[in-house]
Amino acid sequence: MSFRLFYHIYSHKIFFWLFVATFVAQIFFWKQTENIKPSFEIIPPVPSKYLVSTLSLGDNEFLFRILGTRLQNSGDVFAGFVALKNYDYSRLYQWMVMLDGLNPKSNFIPALAAYYYSQTQNKPDTRYIVDYLDQHSSRDIDNKWWWLFQGTYIAKNNLGDINRALEMAEKLSSNNSPSAPFWTKQMPAFLYEEMGDGCMAFVVIEKLIKESESGERKISAQEMNFMRVFINQRLAKLQKQKFDPRKCKKNL
């Protein structure tokens, strides 16, 4: 029997068994590869600046919003949510800095950092949030004073580092924004007072009053009342400590 005749008679059977063989091979292949799963990282490494520029196709704002949403939803896996203590905050910090490079004006990333990511159960990780808020706001303190305040609050209450909080409060008090309330100027005084440094708290308030008297700064009646309450409330405490402002030699 020639090959052509053999092929003509048995081709349908040959193709059927070839189909069965490839189907069985596919089942074996599936069995061997079913446990190969894509690696999942809550916060993946930050892409390089060239990759970011390539992905943006010239429209940084569009990419910023896409990656911002991605950062907001990171950890939202199909099986549920991942606790914030399991996040790699050093990478999170790098992502936030990179996104600031795409859009430094937006308040989306600082809001995400201050209101969401600062809530981690692992308190030392909030140092990255404080550092980011400091870096983000320091470029434009007059417009970003709110995030400096948030950084001060997180440093004091979540991180428990009052010196870092004071450092940020000093920056916060240097703002010249007309929209910033007067307490942004008083923030270092509150922190010095909490640290038990009555002298520095006194110096801060004294400086503000002098600025008001010289006309350098206008203080509203409400703000003046608040300062009086601040002084009166603490006066009893200071008297108990026999605090004498004349002995203060520190200067701001």
């Binding site: 010239g58 569009f62 919003r65 907001q72 937006s106 989306f108 809001a111 995400l112």
Partner: protein
């Protein structure tokens, strides 16, 4: 020429260009509004950036497909031979097709801008500049698609070439960033990639500067880009048209 314009606009209806793009834009708007509303803050800004970015891509892809498939069909159905056998010059033929495509794009463009205006509460001057810039970008893309369809004839090649042109033009900012030519140009042979990128950047338009979504949110802070966009459009659209004239003039039927 008027009848060619009318014909192109009618083929837009026949090919369901307007309906197709309209439905895709509605889907993109819906998705953008949904994604924007999931944001922790700046929901309006989020929505407008998504709408701006996605609608630009949809319009560019839609117009590339429409132009390339339309010209290819005109060649296959011998419509081109039929039209140029009439008392019409080859330049008029190309201009007729080109303006037809421009008007077709503009017809989709008007409701898009109106929708962005009402939905996103965008910065008015920013929206105006963004619209003008997007229109210029579309005109450049349409001109290139027409040129590539005339040169390549095969619709698949023309579509791929147009997509390639659009992506490379949008990536031109990265190319410029990556170019680091040596001071001494005699060493240029050792910097093949840099030299190639420099060469490419001279030939392709700077579409990466066009249609910035941030204009819708923050308005225009730096007007120097606008001058570049205007000059680029004034130079590049006629460049494509003259190339098309030259190529079509030499074509034998």
């Amino acid at each position: 020429m008027k009848s060619i314009l009318k014909y192109i606009l009618l083929t837009g209806i026949r090919d369901r260009l307007y309906a197709g793009l309209f439905v895709t834009l509605i889907a993109s708007f819906s998705l953008s509004i949904f994604l924007g509303s999931t944001a922790l803050t700046e929901q309006q800004q989020m929505t407008s950036a998504y709408i701006a970015g996605s609608s630009r891509a949809i319009l560019a892809i839609g117009m590339i497909l429409f132009v390339c498939l339309n010209i290819n069909r005109a060649f296959e159905n011998k419509e081109v031979e039929f039209i140029i056998s009439k008392a019409i010059s080859r330049q008029q033929f190309i201009l007729g097709y080109l303006f037809g495509f421009f008007i077709a794009a503009f017809l989709i463009f008007i409701p898009l801008i109106a929708a962005i205006f009402f939905i996103t509460n965008a910065n008015k001057i920013g929206l105006l500049v963004w619209s003008g810039s997007l229109l210029s970008e579309l005109m450049i893309v349409i001109s290139f698609s027409l040129l590539s369809s005339l040169i390549l004839k095969n619709s698949f090649s023309a579509i791929m070439a147009s997509f390639g042109f659009y992506i490379i033009s949008r990536l031109m900012g990265v190319f410029v960033l990556a170019i680091n030519l040596p001071q001494d140009l005699t060493q240029a042979k050792n910097h093949f990639l840099d030299t190639s990128l420099k060469f490419l950047s001279a030939l392709f338009p700077r579409l990466d500067l066009f249609g910035q979504s941030s204009w819708l949110t923050y308005g225009i802070n730096d007007s120097s880009n606008l001058k570049i966009i205007l000059l680029q459009s004034i130079i590049y659209i006629p460049l494509m048209i003259f190339m098309a004239f030259h190529d079509f003039k030499k074509k034998q039927f």
